[in-house]
């Protein structure tokens, strides 16, 4: 266990060391976040109305509602991209086979490669919300940070399974990833990102209930905007953990199978 944690740290250290050689990217991303937040603020001001506020789950501002939806799209994107991007990059730089001949197990290699992107995405979300709070009145006074952390962790675990499934596809078929586009597409409509799922037709609400993004956003909005504690958000957290309990072992098994197939067909290093 301690060895695995050390190995995970080594991967984080590797990615941090590489990122430090591109320092200006951090500054540019912070500036980009500012423009993104400003855009949401003015769109929200343009469409805001008492009826709209009444229709929102926390009866708060549309700016706060949509900003959380938008930054979580980033999280889902990171989850779906991180594993297959790490894999593709390792294959293209020739480091993949050198990683696979070390004594570090495949699950640790996969998890280790995902830590830095998840940390940096979490930081990016924090920067978005910080800009919102400092310049545009995003309400943070009532936030319950313990519940926010729990929601982030549960979201990360649930989304990781999807990401590893996505990497399995790339391992086998090398390019493209229909599952990623399908999930992002479905989530942008039936995930509650920019509007509440309650306005959708019944059949789309059913789709939304099968989508982990819906529960992640429910938990996060309740914790951030209404100050809900862990007890108050136990239902979406439990659903996210159930998604994780099913998806993580399933995705690891699928990835192991895909790796075995590529070792059989000799396509591990093919692009």
């Amino acid at each position: 266990m301690i060895r695995s944690l050390r190995e995970l740290w080594i991967f984080f250290w590797r990615d941090l060391s590489i990122a430090r050689t591109y320092r200006t990217v951090f500054v540019l991303e912070a500036v980009e976040a500012l423009f993104g937040v400003a855009m949401f603020f003015y769109v929200a001001r343009f469409v805001d109305s008492p009826q709209l506020r009444h229709a929102l789950p926390q009866a708060g501002s549309y700016f706060a509602f949509s900003l959380i939806g938008f930054v979580f799209l980033d999280y889902l994107n990171a989850a779906m991209d991180t594993f297959d991007h790490s894999l593709t990059e390792a294959r293209d730089t020739g480091t993949l086979e050198h990683l696979l001949v070390t004594q570090t197990s495949l699950p640790v290699i996969l998890a280790g490669s995902a830590i830095y992107p998840f940390v940096i995405t979490t930081l990016r979300i924090a920067v978005y919300i910080a800009w919102g709070a400092v310049l545009f009145g995003f309400p943070l006074r009532d936030a319950n940070w313990l519940a926010v952390a729990a929601a982030l962790l549960a979201t990360l675990l649930a989304f990781s399974g999807l990401g590893i499934l996505s990497a399995s596809y790339v391992l086998l078929f090398k390019r493209g990833n229909p599952a990623k586009w399908f999930l992002l597409g479905v989530s942008s409509v039936a995930g509650g990102m920019l509007f509440p799922v309650s306005i959708l037709p019944d059949w789309l609400q059913l789709v939304a209930r099968l989508n982990p993004v819906t529960y992640a956003l429910d938990a996060m909005r309740a914790a951030l905007l209404s100050g809900a504690d862990i007890h108050a958000v136990w239902r979406p957290l439990l659903v996210l953990l159930l998604f994780a309990a099913v998806l993580l072992p399933l995705s690891m098994a699928v990835f192991a199978w895909a790796l075995r197939r590529t070792k059989t067909t000799g396509t591990l290093m093919h692009r």
Partner: protein, 272 residues
């Protein structure tokens, strides 16, 4: 448990046929019909250097990649230090160092030291031991200056030596080299061979299995030579014995008599 450093018995490997277009989607599920290895058997003794000599497509890299646990064989057995490459791949990886002979495979934005430390830690070396081994190998391989420069700024020859240092960091019993001088010019290749002979093989503790189609490389480094053609092992013996049994004057001649065709071998002769 076998006493041999490497034991290969009746090893077979077939691949599914290559496909393009929409049929490529079916390739991962197709039956393997293209034979790459057709029942190869040999052993490498502790401290011995064995060359796999063959033309392009002979099956050399396939064999090395099976031993490195990067490919699964279709049949037969491959063992390193008594551990089966299919049944116990993690034990096999503890015993081997692998160098693929290209100048990629590193994180180009990290320094040589950072790269070596990363791979050393993944091979379960403690931070202190990794630092100690890096310092020792850097001195041995004349890499002191390269250690604190980003890999993208290093020459191909230096990256090759860095790659060899990586393969030896955890003191493996077996070293697998796949065309180790492939991306080097003639002089750098010659220096690399001399360095390999004097610094790696000198101690007699590391067994070496390397694939090559460069004749001087094989003659300089190998104790024995395994001639492979179309996935079959045609002969495995010392250079002198190969010449004697084939009645050839040179290794090139012996190779041509064994395989029955002119090879695409590299005859580059650089100052040794």
């Amino acid at each position: 448990m076998s006493e041999a450093a490497i034991h290969v018995a009746n090893l077979e490997k077939s691949f599914p046929p290559a496909r393009s277009g929409w049929r490529a989607f079916l390739q991962p599920f197709e039956k393997p019909t293209v034979i790459a290895l057709a029942g190869i058997s040999f052993e490498v003794r502790p401290g011995e250097a064995l060359a796999l000599l063959g033309a392009n497509g002979a099956g050399k890299s396939t064999l090395l990649r099976i031993l490195a646990t990067l490919l699964l064989p279709t049949g037969g057995r491959a063992q390193i230090a008594g551990h089966d490459a299919v049944l116990d791949p993690s034990a096999v990886r503890r015993q081997l160092g692998y160098h693929a002979g290209s100048d990629i495979g590193f994180y180009s934005r990290l320094t040589g030291r950072e790269n070596l430390r990363f791979f050393g830690r993944l091979n379960h070396l403690s931070s202190a031991v990794a630092a100690q081994r890096i310092a020792h190998l850097a001195q041995q391989f004349h890499l002191e200056e390269a250690l604190d420069r980003q890999v993208r700024t290093l020459s191909s020859g230096t990256v090759q030596r860095l790659s060899l240092a990586r393969a030896l960091l955890h003191e493996p019993r077996v070293l697998l080299l796949d065309e180790p001088t492939r991306s080097l010019d003639a002089i750098a290749a010659s220096e690399f061979r001399r360095f390999l002979k004097s610094e790696v093989l000198r101690n007699g503790e590391t067994s070496l299995l390397f694939a090559s189609h460069t004749l001087p490389e094989v003659e300089v480094l190998a104790d024995r030579i395994a001639v492979i053609d179309a996935g079959r092992l045609l002969a495995c013996d010392t250079l002198a014995a190969l010449k004697r049994t084939t009645g050839a004057a040179t290794l090139e001649d012996a190779f041509m008599r064994l395989t029955g065709r002119a090879p695409q071998l590299t005859l580059e002769e650089a100052p040794e």
